[in-house]
Symmetry: C3
Subunit: 155 residues, 3 copies
Amino acid sequence: MWDAVRTRLAMLGHEMPIAANPLGRYDSVAMHGGVGCVSGQFPLRDGVPVFVGALGSGLSVEEGTAAAEVAALNALAQIERALGDFEGLIGLLRLDGIIASDFDFDEYPEILDGASKLFVDALEEKGRHARSLTVVPRLPKNLPVEVVVTFAYVP
Amino acid sequence: MWDAVRTRLAMLGHEMPIAANPLGRYDSVAMHGGVGCVSGQFPLRDGVPVFVGALGSGLSVEEGTAAAEVAALNALAQIERALGDFEGLIGLLRLDGIIASDFDFDEYPEILDGASKLFVDALEEKGRHARSLTVVPRLPKNLPVEVVVTFAYVP
Amino acid sequence: MWDAVRTRLAMLGHEMPIAANPLGRYDSVAMHGGVGCVSGQFPLRDGVPVFVGALGSGLSVEEGTAAAEVAALNALAQIERALGDFEGLIGLLRLDGIIASDFDFDEYPEILDGASKLFVDALEEKGRHARSLTVVPRLPKNLPVEVVVTFAYVP
């Protein structure tokens, strides 16, 4: 399935990124007893922000959606690195999306769909998930979105 | 227990709502290996906001508490639909509450107790849970509260 | 291992606090099927805020880091009370950190490292975890940080 996921990504014009190292005293992924947690992932590529700014005045819906997609790709890379491949992945459980936006912006589902669609396109049934949304005025480094993933794996 | 939950709700003057469909490319509930996650639920009834506004200037403590209760009812409906009934529910694990409020509002536990009390009243022991609180200036559609539930079930 | 954890804390100049009671209709810890959730913990000691204010104008990075450490100690006390000791703890899974800050503050990893480092110092391998970060303008009682922990235990 490893190849299958990368092939599907390639067909969508994406490449699996290198899983980033943590920015502090935590691990990128923690796994115990069948439950895995991926640390918050951001729209960075090789450590450089791909998008900067809050949704609304700073970034358009299209840019925000693409930013969520990049963050989801980074989460995917973390899961692959942690499990070795996607064979042992049972499925995603929960995607917590945190969006930085202006006070009057209100198109949040579209933004997080950038991440949700990427997961389902890449992992098919295994990519389906529940979702929560938190909206804040600002995220670290003025990044527009953070994606936090919980998954189930074969222990 | 299905009937028992609905009976208890009726005694409290509540009716089990119809579980709402997701607003984007996610599922209302994801379940794997004994852990279930309900997507963020809001104080909507038949898709229409029951309460709008932030706590403080917009809504009173009583209204906010009632809003959390409506969101919790929606989460309950999602769990029932996902499991078929509440027999297979082992118990709630975690309730993440996200509240939109004015900067100087500070009665958050009362608000989330609207949800917590509903869960314990409806599900008794199975409704007990840990809780976290996030306070933000605004939620989608100017809704006052979001309730995110994680639960354990018999796999 | 109970003694080992307290000994390590003592060597770092910390004392295991008394696990606080919940502030509402929830439980401090919920555990089912191997997954445990600790309710949001704050930088309180004996119910009294140790630090008050948002990061930036209100509190320095050093104070914020110390506040996260106090909140982590409180989470540790909750896990100990729930499990009896740390023998049955398999390991932490996820630390969700919520920080109250000024709009232009941007040293969040340092703050949450106060909690992350405490967990790893006290629990060693068992203290490792994934991490997410949410930044908000304000938290209840004007507290600077909230720490929400998920862990795995021997069921």
